[in-house]
Symmetry: C2
Amino acid sequence: MSKKLGIGLVGFGTVGTGVWETLNRNFKLISDRSSVQVEIMRIAVRDINKSRPEGAPNDRLTTDWSEVVHDAQVDIVVELIGGTTTAFDIVAASLRAGKPVVTGNKALLAERGKELFALSLEFDTPIHFEAAVAGGIPIIKTMQDSFVGNRIQSMVGIINGTSNYILERMTDAGLAYEEALGEAQQLGYAEADPTLDVNGWDAAHKAILLATLAYGFTIDPEDVYVRGIEMVRGIDIDFAKRLGFVVKLLCVVREHDNGDIEIRTQPSFIPGSHVLSSVNGVFNAVAVQGDAAGESLFYGRGAGKDPTASSVVADIVEAALGLGHEGGHRGFLPYQKGGKLMCIEDTETPYYVRFDVNDEPGVIAKIAHALADAGIGISGTHSPVNPDNPDADFVDMVFQLHTCRFGLLKETLKKIEQLGCVNSRPVVFRIENL
Amino acid sequence: MSKKLGIGLVGFGTVGTGVWETLNRNFKLISDRSSVQVEIMRIAVRDINKSRPEGAPNDRLTTDWSEVVHDAQVDIVVELIGGTTTAFDIVAASLRAGKPVVTGNKALLAERGKELFALSLEFDTPIHFEAAVAGGIPIIKTMQDSFVGNRIQSMVGIINGTSNYILERMTDAGLAYEEALGEAQQLGYAEADPTLDVNGWDAAHKAILLATLAYGFTIDPEDVYVRGIEMVRGIDIDFAKRLGFVVKLLCVVREHDNGDIEIRTQPSFIPGSHVLSSVNGVFNAVAVQGDAAGESLFYGRGAGKDPTASSVVADIVEAALGLGHEGGHRGFLPYQKGGKLMCIEDTETPYYVRFDVNDEPGVIAKIAHALADAGIGISGTHSPVNPDNPDADFVDMVFQLHTCRFGLLKETLKKIEQLGCVNSRPVVFRIENL
């Protein structure tokens, strides 16, 4: 009864090595459990002479990915090179060849999912992408299969481990952003080029995929509001602590009553009492609210060789089990032509706003007056407990604001900037009602 | 492309009603997502005249379950009556008829899984049981599919909401066991007959299923160590707090290096800093350690109409997608002939032991001496901060003990009982190193 299938790997870096090791280490277990025997038949690499782990199948290496895709012994193609150009060609070629694809490439699917899912439909060949979101946490399968009967009311996730580590170190050790980033790079938690991690886009790509799974349509990244952690400063982390919050890079996806989808990624204040506030280090977590399942939370290792390999291997087995079955594959396909994304200006939360103000009488009154004119309620104002320089001419002043439209807040802050009592652009964090 | 399939429900109580409501409410969503259209064609009930929710398909009711199973319009049978006798007959008859079964019946599968999985194999027809463990949390699919590439090192779960609620109320509100149980019954969290919840067997049945998924063989419940929460007293909860622990009804499943499987259910002390300690109320959580995925945690509503319906509906869709595919179904089948369960006497943890001792000099020395003779280390001794009656002739004395074999502890405690300074059987809790 057991199926024997050949795997082609494109990319043999950290995750690729992890996949190879996991398939070897647990070969018998996997085949006992699934009646599927998979073997890596061909591997495309950039440099064939690079040193590999002991026992690596060096005789199966090639530098030409199309040799992998078109190898007659390869039934399933695993794309692990990242990027959105060559990776696109590899995935497209595999689908055209009727070979199921397993990928962990969130950027590729978030940026070019529309084209690839169309090919997946056309060639009746699935794309599996559990490894693209939250490493070893099976959130894709959960959304696609386990919550198939749920209208998804919201998903809130901490899904970039690098940012989470940096924010944690800034919070717990009082490091400056640059120090914490340097430490993350030294420990291997951040790439040499950490841009996509710290600018929010890695997390945003994942949030786009989660929203696509939940609501059935592909989303143009251009339409998604994304802010990274580069603008987070120690002073705001300290204020957050004082007010009972923790700063986390948060992805928020929410369906509103009118069917509009809110989707945004930014550093936010979350209550220190909420379980997400204790997701530390490189761990990831996604909280899902479904109309039947209620509140759920999925927590685990969001990156790294073995956790990501765990998801790739699960997808390989899923692809293998699906092979040869007529009548429509079981991979994900968008099931809605489109949907309406909420304009970021229309989204509503409470806010934390920090103003750099002239230290003179009447400033608070002026700001409060402008907020009141706009109909924005103030739930509290706070000044630093220990300003660096008590004799300075300007000082940081924090306003905690009640829920209002983000657009209204932005307009109002612009007016306040013109009052002449504010020295730089106000710093805004959303306060998330979790 | 869309498949139309008929569902037969056996049982139309709380969960059955939830399934019916969820399938109706989200019919379009489910069929859009999965290309499966399911309709409940026949429902077996105990009392045909009982009042049902508005719109219920009263014309499809019968009191004869075999009419449901053998109805030509029924492709998939959903068993929701509980118990291990009639439910067994229903599941067996469905499998023999080649109709996939969806069930949330943990007792049935834990007690008689061996027979039913054999029928599932013989008739090439799957049994789906996501709803049997942890309500709306997709832990079955995770273990079976998402972690297929992982050797499962351990699973630690809080998987009985009733017990968890009772222990929480004893902890936070200082209620006595009987008061907390009464409250849980009033709130509908506990059945009129709460036996299986409070004696640990509901949780143990679920742990047996998790172990079967992880290690591939069915387990005789006779071989499993199970203790309930009936013996938990306020004094031990207070001591736990003082020592930095929380008392939880915990299921522990662990594979040891020699391949032996440890499986046990009992109220345990867990560190107040561990995430499982904050799983409160009727929520469930399962922490899984896999050799590839690392540490993961799955949290959500472990019972109730809608969360359980969420899992039943996911299984219905899974069953529907699998129907008509040749070459082996994708439901779970044991893949090992058997395995070795660890004898409970050989399991090792640290312990909390409370002695009711005579309040006289030398008692601690006697007990400490007996423990030392057995080679059991003491990490601390504690007496009550505020004994009820400072002039009493006896007093509670707590020993925190280092890790040792449970069998050795039991023998040693028997010797201590014979010393004449202990007034009743010592109270033992395991301290779990999470």
